[in-house]
């Protein structure tokens, strides 16, 4: 779960990282109020959960009230990279003499946290990797040994920032690592970490994403993940315990695995347009697949449903009962093609055929999609 900047910056502040004076505002009046308290000039930052807000025009400076109203009016309720702006973070506009970068992520290949620091802040770290790799220092943390502050100092010495800056910067890294591990984060990042004219540091941005698998055991308060999901169908999917991703086509998809669901999408997408991605994971029951049918059918103008399920960990014959019950109760008329193989496959086929589902018993998803195409044709 990605946190909003205003949420992450509160966490950073609580852990002792210096952050700007600020306030969150959802209306122009609130923006004015916060700016009045902070004093001009201020920064107005759209609170959306996507990167690259600045380049997309979601971050602006305002030097006086008139300008502030104009910008706030334009940003609030507008869209930044497809996400609606509901709140603005209003912050002091710091006088910045230099911009640094610090970020901690999990390196998938080595399986270790990696701390990255750079004297080149305010730009994408991927760009710096290409343009000025000598301005980047990184360190992988051994998960069994853990992180100690001396490692941050060792890391920063490679960038030779000078004694005073090194000490302050290393302190920020230590605190950031503490957040990373306490919140079980996937990423924490400050870009830029500003150096002020008096030599002090200020985190003028805050990026943080926490591991969904650990949400229930993090000891600090976190926002409700469910409320965070903007699309109502995707939220409904989460509620019933499946992964639903909304797409803009008209062929519904239900699959019993993530890879199989993506492959189904890919193959269908060659000639038709998927309405959604839905994967059940390993928890299929009669009730769950009934609810999956309900969810997929919530999309209007669906032309067909494509079901692709394997009985490995899943009792697909139980799932088939749920699908059949939905079809019967709703006298469903659109074509349904189902490929079902694995444990209890014969029983599954029989149940699905009894309610008019076109059952495919070959392994290749391509064959099942061919049958689907014969039934519904290409795009309308």
């Amino acid at each position: 779960m990605r946190l909003h900047e205003f949420e992450a910056v509160n966490i950073f502040e609580a852990m002792g990282i210096p952050v700007p004076r600020r306030g969150v505002a959802g209306t122009v009046e609130e923006v004015l109020l916060v700016a009045g308290e902070i004093g001009y000039p201020v920064m107005l930052k759209s609170q959306v959960l996507v990167g690259g807000r600045g380049l997309a025009g979601g971050i602006k400076a305002a030097y006086h009230q008139e300008e502030l109203e104009e910008i706030a009016e334009a940003l609030l309720g507008g869209e930044v990279k497809g996400s609606t702006v509901r709140n603005l973070l209003v912050t002091e506009k710091a006088d910045i003499s230099k911009e640094l970068y610090v970020g901690i992520t999990l390196d998938g290949y080595s399986g270790k946290p990696i701390i990255v620091a750079s004297t080149e802040g305010g730009v994408s770290i991927e760009d710096t990797v290409r343009t000025a790799p000598e301005k980047i220092a990184s360190l992988r943390v051994d998960p069994l040994f853990g992180f100690y502050p001396y490692q941050a100092r060792t890391l920063l010495r490679k960038l030779a920032p000078g004694q005073r800056l090194l000490t302050a910067w290393a302190d920020v890294i230590s605190r950031l690592y503490h957040i990373f591990s306490q919140y079980e984060a996937l990423i924490v990042e400050i870009n830029p970490l500003a150096v002020l004219p008096n030599g002090g540091l200020l985190a003028v941005d805050a990026v943080m994403e926490v591991d969904n698998a650990a949400l229930s055991r993090v000891k600090y308060p976190l926002p409700d993940w469910m409320e965070r999901i903007e699309n109502s169908l995707e939220r409904k999917g989460r509620e019933i315990g499946v992964t639903y991703v909304n797409l803009d086509g008209d062929i519904g998809i239900i699959s019993s695995g993530a890879g199989l669901g993506m492959a189904s999408m890919d193959i269908i997408g060659e000639k038709m347009r998927p309405a959604n991605f839905l994967e059940t994971g390993g928890g299929i029951t009669e009730d769950l697949l009934y609810k999956c049918m309900e969810l997929v059918m919530m999309k209007v103008d669906l032309r067909a449903i494509f079901i692709n399920i394997y009985g490995g960990i899943n009792p697909i014959h139980e799932g088939a009962k749920g699908i059949a019950r939905y079809i019967r109760e709703h006298s469903l008329k659109i074509p349904i093609v189902a490929k079902a193989l694995g444990n209890h496959q014969e029983e599954t086929w029989e149940i699905l055929r009894s309610v008019g589902v076109h059952v495919v018993t070959e392994a290749a998803t391509e064959r099942a999609v061919e049958q689907l195409f014969e039934l519904v044709g290409g795009d309308k």
């Binding site: 996507v50 990167g51 999990l106 998938g108 290949y109 399986g111 270790k112 946290p113 991927e126 051994d142 998960p143 069994l144 591990s181 079980e184 996937l186 591991d211 969904n212 698998a213 650990a214 055991r217 992964t243 991703v245 797409l247 699959s255 019993s256 695995g257 993530a258 890879g259 199989l260 669901g261 993506m262 492959a263 999408m265 890919d266 193959i267 997408g269 998927p274 991605f277 994967e279 994971g281 390993g282 692709n308 394997y310 009985g311 490995g312 960990i313 193989l341 694995g342 444990n343 496959q345 070959e362 392994a363 290749a364 998803t365 391509e366 064959r367």
Partner: protein, 290 residues
């Protein structure tokens, strides 16, 4: 032949008393796997599917001579059980459960490497050696003995590829689920190494998906070290930016982890990239794989 499971493999099932653990034990036994015991703390002394249950891995190993373990343990207890299993001297661990916190997984991975234990997962369907045995949840009916190795990030797609091959009379030496999380216990290139060394394997299929850089790193290994033919399919061409596609590791972030990027890296390494699973038969025929 094949990799990881042979006649000397003696398996314990952790979480054997659970609903999934007990059903899967029955199916593993039915497939001929030597399941010699189970472990659920507090349930020692009982019998499940004719198999003795122990309170600890240490006892199970001592009493049964087990050298491999498959996990059906609730996600939040996996770290503890995993460290216990490594300490008990088990050499091969298969972690089936999904949704294990990644800060646990990095500890598991580091400890397994330190102690020289071969571990797979999390979020893996396990390992299946056709006709010999299986550790995990793969549905046996789709597999046939032969000389093609499969490594898959996705469970269901490993069944799909094995199923297509079996229908076309191409058998498998071993099918391995590498795990679908952002951090996995053994990386793809290390599994490829086993297939390269296996006398029973003539060619390998990699079934990847969007997200991470396992396939890209494997491409480097293939270029430098593999002599056997390799084919690859990468799922998720139409996955929207930033959306997690079911698996914890299946997410495109910016330009990283895209299908196109992975395909390009693999192609450059001499891998035959399959645009659709069904093309796997043609590849197998080209190299006369059986």
């Amino acid at each position: 032949m094949g990799i990881l499971i042979d006649d000397s493999t003696r398996v314990i099932v952790q979480g054997i008393t659970g609903r999934i653990g007990s059903i899967q034990t029955r199916w593993m036994l039915a497939y001929g796997t030597k399941v010699v015991g189970g472990v659920t703390p507090g349930k020692g002394g009982s019998i499940i599917e004719g198999v003795p249950v122990f309170d600890s891995v240490e006892e199970a190993v001592k009493e049964t001579g087990a050298n491999a373990s498959v996990f059906f343990v609730p996600a939040v207890f996996v770290l503890d059980a995993f460290l216990e299993t490594v300490d008990a001297g088990v050499e091969l661990i298969v972690v089936v459960p999904e949704h294990i916190p990644i800060h646990d997984v990095i500890k598991m991975r580091a400890y397994a490497i330190q102690k020289g234990v071969f571990a797979l997962g999390p979020t893996t369907p396990g390992i299946l050696v056709p006709g010999k045995g299986k550790m995990g949840i793969m549905p046996a009916s789709l597999f046939a003995p032969g000389r093609v190795g499969i490594i898959s990030r996705s469970g269901t797609l490993s069944y799909e590829f094995a199923g297509i091959l079996s229908e076309n009379r191409v058998g498998q030496s071993t099918v391995v689920g590498m795990g679908a999380d952002h951090v996995i216990l053994t990386n793809l290139d290390d599994i490829l190494r086993l297939f390269e060394e296996d006398k029973g394997t003539d060619g390998v299929i990699i079934v990847g998906e969007v997200g991470g850089e396992q396939e890209e790193k494997a491409a480097r290994f293939i270029q430098e070290r593999m002599t056997k033919p390799v084919a690859a399919y990468i799922a998720g061409r139409y996955s929207p930016q930033g959306k997690q596609m079911g698996h914890a590791g299946a997410i495109v972030r910016g330009s990283a982890g895209t299908v196109a990027g992975k395909q390009e890296a693999l192609r450059e390494a001499g891998v035959e990239v399959l645009e659709s699973p069904i093309h796997v038969t043609r590849w197998a025929q080209k190299y006369n794989l059986k």
